[in-house]
Amino acid sequence: NFGGGVQSYFLLLRFLVLLNLVSFLLIAGFVVIPSIVLRAVHSSPANHTGPEECMKYDPNPQGLVAFYNYVLDFLSGMGFMEYSYLFYGYYSNTLVGDRNFSYNIPLAYLFTVVFYFAFCLICIMAMGTAARIAVATGGSAAGNYSMIVFTGWDYGCLGDRATKLKQKNIHYRLQVDLEEQLMKERAASLTLSQKVVLYTLRIFLGFVALGLIGAACFSIFEATVFSQGILGLILEYLPSIVITAGNFLVPLLCEQIALVERYRPSTTVILALLSVFLRLVSLGVLLFTLWGQIKCQVDLEKCDLCQYNHEEYPCWETRVGQEMYKLTLFDLIVTIGALVLVEFPRMLVDNWSNKVARWVGRQEFVVSANVLNLVDGQTVVWTGALFCPLLPLINTAKFVILFYCKKVTLFANCRPALKTFRSTTSNFFFLMVLLFGWAMATLVMIYSVAIHPSMGCGPFRFFPYMWAIVPMSFYRLSEVTQDFLFFVGSQAFSVPLFALS
């Protein structure tokens, strides 16, 4: 009723909720529940320890803690929340189980995360193929005026409200096409000097946009470096604030620039979609800075003892997990805040006074910005899943809240967005963007698996790198199992298997 774009958004949201829920069940089943239920029986698989300095890790504060500290801790993931099942640091590095049965927690942790990534990829590909079929076969040629006029009306439409919505639908479809038409005619009718001016303006504004993006990245970098040393809630949240501000402001400015340059609506849409790269790049900058700090790019001698900055980050995986947790939470708070503080008053204004509403402009549900928010949130969850196993659960709850909030917003406040998408192609495009976010998260995961885990906490305490658990566990299996697995992995077996499938 509001156009195909909005439908795509809600479909994507539903898909992500399901994905997160299933992933959480996976992680809970293989990692969290065994950790809770079973007790440690054996000592660590790795029989060596590290220097005493590196093993110091004390997340619980001493003495009396004021009540408001609990709220602060909940919002920043520190204090009582830090040493809990929420973060990596709490999981044991031993085997757990009872007399007859032992369960290798570190191995399970690693494999679950790897499988989680593979599972998400499969789901996205499945949705993608479905969407691509829709692109190939369906989708009427919109923009064809006679089609809209003569076949636009659905005679089966019953009821007053459905009829009104259908009429609005047809109305804005025509308006979109008319707008594009006008833009085309205007562009075609420019004289040579006007064209030169326009292109110069475009190049200049392109540089301005690039400069803005660069400034945003730099401020994220500075904020991250600044916030790492000192406590305090605002400073804790500084990277999240800067990222959210950047994500909000830069596309807005680009949109204004596009209006100045009088681009066609489809170009504006492409610009809006390009801001996905800005969002993912800001996340990348945050992570890059964090790792720079952890691996001591600045003060090289701090890392000599434990190969990571053990003074400021006794448990660096938990730290990274906390940053992701804060990003997710902050996103949710901002969305709900925007809903209550911005959209609700606008709705009241619209209902009371038509004149003021016309001046301020009726609310529009801008699909692109909302979809990018979703993709961004999901990428943060993927990046943080290795360090914060309960993050998919938090994200499921967040997306469910988001679903109902957006639904309320849509029906109560908004009219359909004028710059609408062709829904079939947009479904496919959104999934491509999601895939890009997944790829970035996978890179992060691969990098984390390859660097030195912290020695004070976590399931991979004394391994040189996380992946080392696999060979170690492999050689503890019985001879028969080892031979069987070698055989399966060897060429004699796997090649015919691939040929058959």
Binding site: S140, N144, Y145, S146, M147, V149, F150, T151, G152, W153, D154, Y155, G156, C157, L158, G159, D160, A162, T163, K164, Q167, K168, I170, H171, L174, Q175, L178, Q181
Partner: protein, 193 residues
């Protein structure tokens, strides 16, 4: 038939199975004449006889028919009923009532639907879709929310796209050609009863 009230004779029922009068084909697969008769009867119980075996001559006025729930909200309801009435004023006999719903059903062929769609959009009944017809169609579609300039622009563009013989209005051939390229015409030109 058994103990069912005899509304139609057997010959009439056979006739209703497949009637080829003018270009109309009646499809009884999805709805029986008795059910449609029930709907027709409830529009004016005192006017419509229960017994159709003697082929009564009974026509219901436009005002009664457009009050049906399936048609009430449709912006083209008046034109739909007028197109199926013989006198062009919207007074439908039961035969014409059945014709209307069979053309608008899922089983009617595309050519038949195109013929009647053309009749519906032809407001001045001159067998051509001229600019005024399009303007009226557009206003009914968008509930007059477009500005007059936009209406003019859309009508010009629509005629430009579909007009093949260049006479600045759409004949039935132009219309049918355009409809044949529309993928969802069959599904939108459909009323379920």
């Amino acid at each position: 038939m058994g103990n069912k009230q005899t509304i139609f004779t057997d010959e009439q029922l056979d006739a209703y199975q497949v009637i080829l009068t003018k270009p109309i084909v009646v499809f009884v697969g999805f709805f029986s004449p008795s059910r449609l008769h029930g709907r027709y009867h409830e529009l004016a119980p005192h006017l419509v006889p229960m017994d159709y075996t003697k082929d009564p001559d009974c026509k219901l006025p436009l005002a009664l028919i457009v009050n049906m729930p399936e048609l009430k909200e449709n912006p083209f309801r008046n034109r739909i009923v007028e197109s199926f009435s013989e006198d062009g004023m919207g007074n439908l006999s039961f035969n014409e009532f059945v014709d209307m719903f069979s053309v608008l059903s899922e089983m009617a062929p595309r050519e038949l639907k195109a013929i009647y769609a053309f009749k519906i959009y032809d407001f001045n009944v001159d067998n051509y879709l001229c600019k005024e017809d399009l303007e009226k169609t557009l206003n009914k579609l968008t509930k007059e929310e477009l500005t007059p300039e936009e209406v003019q622009l859309v009508c010009e563009k629509a005629i430009e796209e579909a007009d093949l013989d260049g006479d600045n209005k759409l004949s039935f051939a132009d219309f049918e050609n355009m409809i044949s390229r529309a993928p969802d015409f069959l599904s939108t030109f459909h009323i379920r009863i």
